[in-house]
């Protein structure tokens, strides 16, 4: 085989880039898709968060038999909760989602309370319905608060310090509100950033592998002095460049969206400024080079365009499945977490957003793992390009 030539490599790369960028429809549609999906997710999350907060603040408590517990009604109203007395047909309406919850006061509530027996209030809700959970939580808290208040008064009347009856006070520091919301948000953002680095490469990788077979241009190409290594690297560079464009577009989309949407108002402690942008790019650049390598190696595996396409689809789903490792895991991340491709990127991106320090070893993983995978993939890709079985077998 002819000696490796950088000139020919750059000729191949330049031609592929021109060729790819001429395919306005599919390339630009893909770029546009990834650029817009980030901002869209940010806005969506914003509105969801805002509506949850709004609903918790402006809450109505439907109370069945409210007339038996006038003190509770007054207590709730003082706490800013509107009371809807005796909602008709409440069980069915809670079930079908018209009401989030209903409180049921037993008929002998006042009598039981007065005589010192235990008085019962039932909270009717549907725990499987997620959007009702914060409201149920708020009402539970309020009713407990009311009960505690009465208990404390009674003990004080009997000359007992309320602390005696409660030797251990459990303070609840609820992380689920702001922090959990921000964790969800982190996951989403990291996921979409990686998603851009995957989606940006698919159309292009398909075009330079399956497309070349479909158009029957591989054979003429291989009769020229070009070496398969030059072809492989040239194609890889071209696809990687398109992918890098997609990643940059997506990041700029986030940058703009987070400037426009006032997340701070919702109490989300984020900032997506220059520091985060740089951190993201430092993780995403090696990733954006690795993905095309893998996709090309798979895309070149088929003798026909169709085979190449299915093989490439397989690669895409494999890459897409990897972040599930950390998404589904319940325990703390083990040390090897960052060394698993895609999954590691996901973890480090989340750390960048949380403004945590990233260890030198983690940075090493972000660059060494993609480099190694890319090397293996490119060798496989070059082999397949030069394989005569792939060539003549039509």
């Amino acid at each position: 085989m002819s000696a490796f030539s950088l000139t020919r490599l750059s000729i191949v790369a330049r031609k592929e880039i021109v060729d790819l960028l001429r395919d306005r429809k599919s390339i630009f549609l893909a770029l546009f898709g990834v650029a817009i999906s980030g901002p869209l997710v940010v806005c969506l999350l914003y509105f969801v968060a805002q509506s949850i907060q709004g609903r918790i603040e402006k809450i109505t408590a439907p109370i069945v038999n409210a007339q038996f517990a006038p003190d509770l009604v007054r207590y709730l109203e003082r706490r800013g909760i509107k009371v809807e007395a005796d909602p008709p047909d409440y069980e069915a309406r809670v079930k079908n989602g018209e009401l989030d919850v209903a409180l049921v006061v037993e008929p002998n509530f006042a009598e039981a309370l007065a005589s010192g027996r235990q008085a019962t209030i039932t909270l009717v809700t549907l725990s499987s319905r997620e959007r009702s959970a914060p409201i149920a939580g708020r009402l539970t808290g309020e009713v407990r608060g009311y009960a505690t208040m009465i208990g404390n008064e009674r003990m004080i009347l009997r000359g007992i310090a309320p602390a005696v009856a409660r030797p251990v006070q459990l303070e609840e520091l609820d992380l689920s509100s702001v922090e959990q919301r921000s964790a969800r948000f982190l996951q989403m953002m990291s996921f979409y950033a990686l998603f851009a680095g995957l989606m940006g490469a698919i159309a292009a990788a398909l075009d330079v592998t399956a497309g070349e077979r479909e158009r029957q241009t591989m054979e003429p190409l291989l009769t020229t002095p070009v070496a398969v290594a030059e072809l492989a690297l040239g194609k890889w560079l071209a696809v990687a460049l398109v992918n890098l464009l997609a990643v940059t577009a997506s990041m700029l989309g986030f940058l703009i969206a987070l400037k426009l949407v006032p997340l701070g108002k919702l109490g989300l402690p984020f900032n997506f400024g220059a520091r985060e942008f740089t951190g993201f790019m430092a993780v995403l650049i090696p990733f954006a080079f690795m993905v095309p390598g893998v996709l090309l190696a798979f895309g070149a595996a088929g003798k026909t365009a169709k085979e190449a396409q299915s093989s490439l689809t397989l690669a895409v789903s494999l890459v897409g499945l990897l972040p599930l490792i950390s998404w589904l895991r319940q325990t703390k991340a083990p040390w090897w977490d960052v060394w698993v491709p895609v999954n590691g990127q996901f973890a480090v991106l989340s750390k960048v957003l949380r403004a945590e320090a990233i260890l030198p070893l983690e940075w090493a993983a972000m660059w060494a793992v993609p480099a190694l995978i890319c090397l293996v993939a490119l060798i496989a890709f070059a082999r397949r390009l030069g394989d005569e079985k792939m060539l003549a077998g039509r």
């Binding site: 085989m1 002819s2 000696a3 020919r8 000729i11 191949v12 031609k15 021109v18 060729d19 001429r22 395919d23 158009r215 029957q216 241009t217 591989m218 054979e219 003429p220 190409l221 291989l222 009769t223 020229t224 002095p225 070009v226 005569e388 060539l391 003549a392």
Partner: protein, 259 residues
Amino acid sequence: MIEIEGLCKRFTVRERTSAFALKASTRIVTAVDNVSFNAKDGEVTGLLGPNGAGKTTTLRMLSTLLSPDAGSARIDGADLVSERAKVRQRLGVLGDAKGLYWRLTARENINYFGRLQGLSLPDSERRTRVLIDELGLHDLADRPTQGYSQGERMKVAIARALVHNPQTVLLDEPTNGLDIMSTRSMRELIRGLKAQGKCVLFSSHIMQEVAALCDRIVIINKGRAVFSGTPQEVLATTGLDSLEDAFVKLIGSEEGLFA
């Protein structure tokens, strides 16, 4: 100059006799079986054979796309296997696959191959211009090749094969799908290459076409070269006066022929 000696190529093919058969049996297909012939500079050599004879496979081996299972071949003295790079530089190939890059213009398609063949950018652009002139592609040259007619695509493919002015030219069925006018201009082009002292080897399954152009004919059938000689010798050997009858006779029975 092409010198071929005992070239062989076998393919392993999978066969399924029923749609539900779990195991496909494999069979060896001999596509090219001990083919030897020479093609000289300044001559047009025709590789004639019916469908499936092994013409494309022979040309693919000569253009270094497939490696031969046995035998050897030299292009201008350079060995097919050990001196691949040299062989590729000497060769211009219009193969069985004649695809173009749809989104690139004719000029860009030709120029890309010129650059890959090692021409400098100005040289490559100059050669591209010359070929566009010669082939009458002016009006299309700067349009993407997507909407080209079959004849127009063929012209671009041939220009691409000749961009580096190769000494030896391989053409696999260069008139396939062309109308009478385009076929004639293709023949003119082949004669022009011959006049420049190039070695042209082209394949066809049409006897008349080969007879009209070739100084020497190699007839292959079922992977074997069954005849090699001038068009006159074809008639003389068979004792027939129609070339088509002679062709049919030659591939129909192999007895008494020098392979």
